[in-house]
């Protein structure tokens, strides 16, 4: 009897295991795990995760890893599905096999919308490689960003309409240069003339093409930092296109002033609050509240440091600067009558000071 029971349990366990394996195999890839995001990740989180992983997993960067191509392909498929609202819904409900259509865009398209056409040329060694190939002009676009975007990060979608060199029928003149030609006018008489000599090249025409690019505003980004999109600049008929660079310009904020990773702000309090204390909230750049409490006397010009409430550091977003609050005091507007003045003298019990000194000290 016991032996039979054990066998039954073992059979059940094996069945369960088999079922699990089969369902795991059938369910397809876990796209959320591939991107390293939670099931409730926003589209911004997904774009951010893709961009970070794409740089890490690109096969050109991992030439020793035989699985690099597969990992990279998985990443592209994950992004393609999770970045599309419809496809993500289908995937969440039915898994990878539940997706109605096959994968459309090649991973190259997705990759180049984040980094440009020639984005796989890493490390900025373009100059070294292309010394002899003429390049088209670079384009630099000043991208205005708000302090809220610097705090939380954001993605800017951009439509790039650019002229692209395409093959055309016929030939054209290229590599034109001046050459000296010697012609014989008669016996012993020669003439040297300058002539324009050109080679023949396949004909090329410029056709306008359009594509979407994704520019990431990374957390903690600083003024004047640039995000290049290789090959998205102006074309060159005899060579390669230049680059498109987004130069970050951080806008002034009405409440916070940035200094490095620290934020500065000012609060005006009433004279009463300065003397008896107060409690309040500051709404931060992402909406969370910073609680400010004082139960002692607050002098005008007093500063309060809130550690960790500044901006994230660009190189390590786990480190944050501080929020420095400077208080100033608003005195009552109406004048006091004699009775109130006596009351105040009695309450405050502060003797007359009247100290005369040079407050400017040369400034």
């Amino acid at each position: 009897m016991a032996a039979g029971g054990m066998n039954l349990r073992q059979v059940c366990q094996v069945c369960c295991l088999l079922l699990y394996l089969v369902s795991a195999a059938l369910a397809g890839r876990d796209f959320y795990k591939i991107l390293g995001v939670s099931k409730s990740a926003s589209i911004r989180d997904i774009k951010k995760a893709y961009r970070k992983l794409a740089l890490q997993l690109h096969p050109d960067r991992n030439q020793d890893d035989p699985k690099a191509q597969d990992k990279f392909a998985d990443l592209g498929a994950a992004y393609e599905v999770l970045s599309d609202e419809e496809k993500r819904k289908q995937y969440d409900a039915y898994g990878e096999d539940g997706l109605k259509e096959g994968h459309h865009g090649s991973h190259n398209d997705i990759f180049s919308s984040f980094f440009g056409d020639f984005g796989f040329m890493f490390g900025g060694n373009r100059q070294q490689q292309d010394r002899n190939i003429p390049r088209g002009n670079d384009i630099v676009l000043d991208l205005e960003v708000t302090l809220e975007e610097v705090y939380s990060g954001n993605f800017v979608e951009v439509v790039r309409n650019k002229p692209v060199a395409k093959e055309a029928p016929g030939k054209r003149k290229c590599n034109c240069r001046q050459e000296m030609r010697t012609t014989q006018l008669g016996p012993g008489r020669f003439q040297m003339t300058q002539e324009m000599v050109c080679d023949e090249c396949p004909n090329v025409k410029l056709v306008n093409e359009e594509r979407t690019l994704e520019v990431e505003i990374e957390q903690g980004v600083r003024d004047e930092m640039e995000y290049p999109f290789i090959g998205e600049g102006e074309p060159h008929i005899d060579g390669e296109p230049g680059d498109l660079r987004f130069r970050i310009k951080v806008l002034k904020h009405p409440v916070f002033e940035r200094r490095g990773d620290d934020l500065y702000t000012n609060i005006t309090i009433s004279l009463v609050e300065a003397l008896v204390g107060f409690e309040m909230d500051i709404v931060h750049l992402d909406g969370h509240k910073v609680h400010v409490v004082r139960d002692k006397i607050t002098k005008p010009g007093a500063r309060m440091w809130k550690k960790g409430e500044g901006l994230p550091n660009f190189d390590n977003i786990n480190i944050r600067g501080s929020l420095i609050i400077t208080f100033d005091v608003e005195f009552p507007q109406t004048q006091l009558d004699e009775q109130q003045k006596d009351g105040i003298r009695g309450l405050l019990k502060q003797g007359s000071v009247q100290k005369i000194y040079n407050g400017l000290q040369g400034y």
Partner: protein, 243 residues
């Protein structure tokens, strides 16, 4: 392909076709058809719309564009070459080729009134047009242009900041400046239209056309946005109200 762009174009073409037939009775019929078509288009558009507003067809604040004069087929252009007469400021011309980065201009708000990045420019809105490479603003003033004796148009300022004569209004039909349509630029201050009438410069900018301001609105002052980098609106982050 039921793209939004396709429907807008179809609606536009239909309206324009309707405008050609100007007969009393057909006018009324056309009005009814217009209204019906507009309602249909709006219904379809609202059903096609997803949560985020697509500004794919509009020229938006912060975008970098090349502007083509539709009558003379040249692009608005500037470079580090100064006028030899008039104000002596940086010259603005029209060029034929389409692959010069010196033909890129950034669309920005008025001085001290920045426009929100990615929002479509409205017809009638006052903007500045800043030359990408040199950071100078499209500008005009009471000086004569060298070839045609119209009003000289120059590029003025430093790092995008010049003066009040840098402001132009975008004139178009409709609500927003659409990428496919030709618009006019009217100067705020001297009321001239940005124009090209075909006069050509000689050496050292041989073949480039003169760009000037002229008082009348005509076929010479139509411009269309071409190549460029069009910024789309981003998802709203929590913002404090601007002071």
């Amino acid at each position: 392909d039921l793209s939004r762009r396709g429907w807008l174009r179809a609606a536009g073409r239909f309206e324009r076709a309707g405008a050609c037939v100007s007969d009393e009775n057909t006018d009324r019929a056309m009005e009814l058809i217009h209204a019906a078509l507009r309602a249909l288009v709006l219904a379809l558009l609202s059903s096609l719309c997803d949560g985020k507003d697509s500004e794919l067809n509009y020229v938006t604040c912060g975008s970098l564009v090349k502007l083509l004069n539709t009558r003379h087929n040249v692009r608005l252009h500037s470079h580090d070459v100064k006028y030899g007469s008039g104000s002596g400021q940086q010259s603005v011309t029209g060029v034929e080729n389409a692959d010069d980065a010196n033909s890129y201009w950034q669309i920005r708000g008025r001085p001290n009134r920045p426009c929100q990045r990615g929002t479509a420019i409205k017809c009638g809105q006052a903007i500045r047009i800043t030359h990408m490479k040199t950071g100078r603003n499209l500008h005009t003033h009471h000086f004569s242009s060298p070839l045609s004796n119209n009003q000289e148009v120059s590029a003025f300022g430093e790092n995008g900041e010049g003066d009040d004569l840098d402001v132009w209004t975008v004139q178009c039909d409709g609500v927003h400046w659409e990428r496919d349509e030709a618009v006019r630029f009217k100067h705020v201050g001297t009321d001239v239209y940005l124009s090209v009438t075909g006069e050509q410069y000689g050496h050292p900018i041989r073949g480039q056309r003169e760009v000037h301001g002229m008082t009348s609105s005509n076929q010479h002052n139509w411009w269309r946005s071409m190549e460029g980098v069009y910024i789309q609106p981003s998802q709203e982050l929590l913002r404090h109200d601007e002071l």
